[in-house]
Amino acid sequence: MRYNKPMKKLAFAIAVVSVAASICPLSAFAISEELKGSISTNCSSIKFRLENVQKDDSRNRVHLGAQYESIATNLMMNLNLRLVKNNLANAKLAEQQTTFISERNRFKNDFIGYSQELDALIDMDCRNEPEKFYEQLQLVRTKRADVEKSIKRMDEILAKHRESILDFRKGLKK
């Protein structure tokens, strides 16, 4: 019973420290002084390069999107329709079309998520807040990696589709 009071104080102190630590972490993201200096000094040129990346991304996204759209609607969809009309419907090819369209939607959403973070990065004050800027840059890299992965998955689907078409071709008359 005699130890109750100090124990309570200790428990209270631990609770206060835990709550404080959860509310305001000491340093969520730390970078070296050299890096901070480099970002602050080169802030204008970094932003200029990011703006160029943003423009290139926009152009590349539209170009890739047009190719995906063309494959999905002008080729895959029309082929599957034609197969159905000839009573040659192929479940594998139909499934590939569905997977491709669903992955294309994922690519669209990944790109929007990435672009929003890149836009936020460009709007940040890198001269006075280099640490926050670099933290946001890491997030932008993660989002860009998602877009890249999505493109690779689309490539894989298209490669499989080509193989399936060649397999399917074997069973057809000349």
């Binding site: 170009h63 029309n78 078409i165 057809l172």
Partner: protein, 117 residues
Amino acid sequence: MSEEGNSGHGGRNLIILGISASVIAIVTTAVSLNIYRSTGDIFLDRSRPGYIFEDEKHNEEDDQKESFSNEGEVTQKVVDEYLQEFDKINKRITEASDDFSLEAISDDSLGITQDQE
């Protein structure tokens, strides 16, 4: 007396109408711009100044030529035609596959160096 009163009200109503119209226009424009940004359309809109060049417009026209009819029989020859069209587009996709590599936003590409003097 009554006519003067009506004329006074008319002027005031006109001002209220003008202000209301302006407020509605500002609010709806703000909402539209917000939707334009939040849906991500802004990132695809290359009609913004500096986003598209003349030579790119021509390339885009060429991009949309491939197609495959959904009518007719299905033979090996037809599938070959399909593959021919497919390969044309797939080649362009493969060429663009590295457009979103991380290299474009690496520290080196952005000019962020850690070895400052």
